[in-house]
């Protein structure tokens, strides 16, 4: 249980005093996150066979998505004007970015339950940022399976695609995966903030996280313009994979966007993340315990 975390750092100056008050909040949060995650990883590793099986299971779950796309391509040569390797690239980037985010922040879905049953109170009284605790709560290393599957599809795409590589395109790959994960991360934080208000509406969050990841696995050409506008300007998921990937593929952008938008993902990730942080703070302030 999270209640047993040793939060007091070694070398604390005063006995009983907490040293992190002197550290910047962000660092303090990251450190706490790391400690809690390490604890959950240790407890996971106590049952190694179970870990291997559940990781494999997680990999298999997401593999069925891609299998579905492969089955579609037994009937057609192109979907929305895109070939299978091209869709595999879109899929691989989106799945890896989402997998990364799901590994780091996926546990935040449980927040609604904690608000309902009042166990969130335990997190509030600890001298550790609540966001870090919620994010690390029951950290599930098995979610690494999703990342492995995403990377496998990405690998397949890179091997089969005939891309005129430039240094910029090469650099784009890690940048978009990492900033894509950050964009998804912001969606998770927004979702968690929303759960303070809605409590048992974690499914709404899934619509944006899992739904968004599914959406991005297909090319933008198949979706209605308004939907594409929505995921570009409202919930900026298009910056996770569509826009940067289309640059790598030398494809036209949706909505006649200019070429430079492909380089925006890191900026969008930071800006959207900051907004999510504000929403989280506002939501946390509205929290009233159930008292139970």
């Amino acid at each position: 249980m999270a209640e047993t975390v040793a939060v007091r750092p070694e070398g604390s100056r005063e006995p009983g005093g907490f040293a992190y008050e002197e550290r910047p909040r962000l660092l303090e949060g990251l450190r706490a996150y790391g400690l809690i995650v390490a604890m959950w990883v240790r407890s996971t590793m106590a049952y190694r066979a179970s870990f291997v099986m559940t990781t494999f299971g997680n990999l298999a779950v997401t593999a069925f998505d891609f299998l579905t796309i492969v089955l579609m391509f037994t009937h057609v040569d192109a979907l929305g004007g895109y070939t299978l390797p091209e869709i595999a690239l879109l899929y691989g980037v989106s799945a890896t970015a989402f997998g990364l985010c799901d590994l780091l922040l996926g546990s935040m879905e449980r927040l609604g339950r904690r608000v309902r049953d009042g166990t969130l109170d335990t997190l509030l009284v600890r001298p550790v940022p609540v966001l870090a605790q919620v994010a690390a709560d029951r950290f599930a290393l098995r979610r690494i399976g999703r990342i492995l599957q995403g990377l496998a599809v990405l690998g397949y795409a890179l091997v089969t695609l005939d891309i005129a590589w430039t240094p910029l395109k090469v650099a784009m790959l890690p940048v978009m995966v990492i900033s894509g994960a950050a964009v998804f991360g912001a969606v998770f934080v927004f979702g968690a903030a929303f759960q303070f208000v809605a409590q048992d509406a974690s499914q709404v969050q899934s619509a944006f996280t899992y739904g968004g990841a599914t959406l991005l696995q297909y090319p933008p050409t198949i979706f209605a313009k308004d939907l594409v506008r929505g995921v570009t300007f409202v919930v900026p998921l298009a910056f996770v994979s569509w826009l940067p990937t289309l640059y790598v593929l030398d494809r036209e952008y949706p909505l006649d966007l200019p070429q430079w938008v492909a380089f925006l993902p890191p900026v969008v990730a930071v800006a959207f993340g900051a907004l999510a942080g504000l929403a989280w703070r506002a939501a946390l302030r509205t929290y009233r315990s159930t008292g139970s």
Binding site: V61, F64, T68, M72, V76, D200, S202, Q203, A207
Partner: protein
Amino acid sequence: MRLYAVVAAGGFRRYATYRTATAAGVFTNTVFGFILAYTYIALWDARPQLGGYDMSQALAYVWIGQGLLAACAMMGGGFEDELMERIRTGDIAVDLYRPADLQLWWLAGDLGRAAFQLMGRGVVPMLAGALAFDIALPGSAWIWPAFLLSVLLGIVVSFAVRFLVALTAFWLLDGAGATQMAWLLGLFFSGMLLPLPLFPGLLGEVARVLPWSSLLQIPADVYLGKYTGWGLVEAYAFQGAWAVALLLAGRLLQSVATRRVVVQGG
């Protein structure tokens, strides 16, 4: 009989309590319905009449799938987690003492749950789909009751499978892996990800005779008017046979399992 009716009503009421969760579920089903519908449009644009469906039938298929997802518990979320927990903790011993049949008890509760979810999470996504897309509607009024009967049989098959999965907890204790495998297979072989007629060759043939085709593929085909006359009777017989076979298998496993129940004292 009265007892089971009460249990079913309880199952219905229990899920009816979570209004926000239901609304959230409807929202998610609708979002996924939209995403899936656009991929199907792209697919059927490239290959009209794919799998014997025209575009409006394919779109109807998408929204029937979203409407039945919760009712048929294709991604889990029924009674099985609770039953497994009771087996793991030993509370099952109390259930076995009750003057009620274990399997029928849980079936009644699950039917109540499914009835609520068919109304709460089924109708709205289908309406949303019908408003936003040009989806095929049944050719005649008798198709609606025929469709609902097929859905009911599908729900019983779904229950029977999940009951078997839950009983594995007697041996495995932690049933998370078994549950995950079960809903994974269910999602794929029910035709939720892609209609079964689109599965190639042997995979398609195997998928059609597995029990999961009763969950979505057959009800959807009944809705789309693919079965008439004796064909419809055969479709029901297929679903019914799986339901009976799996329920019997559940009984058998249950009697084997309960003979080896060891209640950990406390």
